[in-house]
Symmetry: C2
Subunit: 336 residues, 2 copies
């Protein structure tokens, strides 16, 4: 049976929605949940739920982190923060995966400090599927690493490739480098050096890609630094919001009221939800020595259940072993 | 009367659609058009059009540039290329503005080499309005400068601010810096230094912005390097395409066929067109000593007319003088 440690103190709806999501997962799946946080805050919420058949345990954590803190300082100064306790349960073999939905930066730092890095990785990265528009296209790095060197981009590519292979069963994922055009000499100094390293690597590298290729899903893994990746994802989320809103307004003015209300609006709302970041649930931090997922702070119980589901998939697909193999194969020689 | 030099040899539909757009502008507006290119290619097209009342002259250029050439080499080795002849007409006072719709890189290099830079600008930049979604939000740089230093971002901000003030009559345009979050310490090394310079400048700086702010139009000028800017714009163009396509498919399956066909599809097609890059027409290169606009290679006559219209607005609004004043005010001391 898989055991998952859930940091129930992080996120906008903590702890109630997180406890609820944890309990529902334990009731409906063959998963043991460790709810990590303040027992006095968790107990009254647990009493409201039916715990029969649910394997749920509370692991006390006496500290927690605030959203506006500096991640490194916050994680260093509070070793008993709930997110760090969750990661420690993974490190010490008491849990197969840790999930946090709070402070993204603190989640990254806590996982990195607690679990350590895999050989061949200088900087762990977060990959995110390109919303529901292209679920088989992973954008990596999505925001963890802003200033990068060429070899970091190669490492992100290897990690993303291992992820798409292990989690989506794609044998040789195609990998593209995101720049300002598709010609070989596009991009800046860092991109151009990374291009050469990617071309010489064992990865299934298809060359430079441009912004259009992300929504078109031209490759399975699209690599860039965390600044460009974060901008691309958030522009996409914002544009989806604004564009579907414009469509809704225009259709309301054009169509008979009942058709607009009953047929069109639910459809647009569904597209909106599917293409929001929150829908992704949570994504594993790729490159740490253990499974640790970071999700959207705005997650309610349903999104928490999705996040835990992602953690289960990562455990079942032996994500860490897949990463180790790919990293040894692709960047092993560079680091030797 | 305004005189505009149009490079009719550049772009996917050159020279026919460009000549047509030039003639139509001259016929309908108080503009004299100089069509720059190969007279033997232009003459037969002109014969097909009604030239009564149209002030159109042909200025011969014996060379032209291909799309796959290295811009610097191509521009240097062919001083009589149509784009360079057009820019030279501006430099020498024979035209008020030059417009090219061909090779973007060559257009930039040609304008820079021929017209020179304004004081206070190290690197001219291209600003592009955020499609029709937020026409009063200018993204600068949109792709001309990939590797930048903090002071370049300050210069882009000043240039963008002058542009929005002169062209959109916004007295003190708000300026934001595009990074991976809205907190003061977001972004990479370059962004953080630029943040301090922007905060100390005379610009109406509102702080760091994230990707969501571009479609939401949070500021009048959103500053970033050309790599992030190009990615943001092309991701947006691609997502608009894919998302409206998904909406169309879903609505076709949901709505009665006649309503879908007659009411919904024209509306979605209009949103598609309005939000494509091509709709922008052309944008002036900000920071060169003269008005030189670069447009989309896929422009047909209607887009060419739009591009020339942008050039007229830039001339009428004294864009170069506005830039000179703002640059002296904002970056004058830095450069002194």
């Amino acid at each position: 049976m898989i055991t998952i440690a859930l940091d129930v103190m992080g996120g906008d709806y903590a702890p109630a929605e997180l406890v609820r999501g944890g309990i529902e997962t334990a009731r409906n799946h063959n998963v043991r949940m460790l709810l990590v946080g303040d027992p006095q805050a968790i107990a009254p919420i647990m009493q409201k739920h039916d715990l029969a058949m649910a394997r749920v345990d509370v692991v006390p954590a006496t500290q927690s982190l605030a959203m506006d803190e500096d991640p490194v300082q916050a994680v260093r100064s509070r070793p008993d923060a709930s997110v760090t306790v969750a990661n420690r349960l993974v490190r010490d073999g008491h849990a197969d995966a840790a999930v946090t939905l709070g402070h993204t930066g603190a989640g990254l730092v806590s996982a990195l400090f607690t679990l350590g890095r895999l050989p061949g990785i200088d900087r762990p990265a977060v990959g995110v599927p390109y919303l529901s528009i292209q679920p088989k296209t992973l954008l990596i790095d999505a925001g963890a690493n802003v200033d990068v060197r060429p070899r970091h981009l190669l490492q992100f590519a290897a990690a993303g490739s291992a992820y798409m292979c292990a989690m989506h069963n794609i044998p040789r994922p195609t990998v593209g480098l995101l720049t300002n055009g598709t010609e070989d000499n596009k991009g800046g100094r860092v991109s151009r050096q990374a291009f050469d390293m990617l071309r010489q690597s064992k990865l299934n590298f298809v060359g430079n890609l441009e912004g259009l290729d992300l929504p078109r899903g031209t490759a399975n893994v699209i690599v860039c630094d965390g600044l460009a990746g974060n901008i691309a994802l958030k522009v996409s989320e914002g544009l989806t919001e604004v564009l579907l809103d414009r469509v809704a307004t225009a259709l309301r003015e054009t169509l008979p009221a009942d058709i607009a209300q009953e047929l069109v609006m639910p459809l647009l709302r569904r597209l909106q939800t599917e293409n929001s970041y929150a829908h992704v649930g949570a994504m594993p931090l790729l490159g740490v020595n253990g499974i640790s997922l970071i999700g959207h702070g705005r997650s309610k119980a349903q999104a928490v259940i999705g996040a835990i589901g992602q953690a289960r998939l990562a455990v079942e697909n032996h994500l860490v072993e897949a990463l180790q193999t790919e990293l040894a194969d692709v960047v092993g020689e560079e680091n030797a």
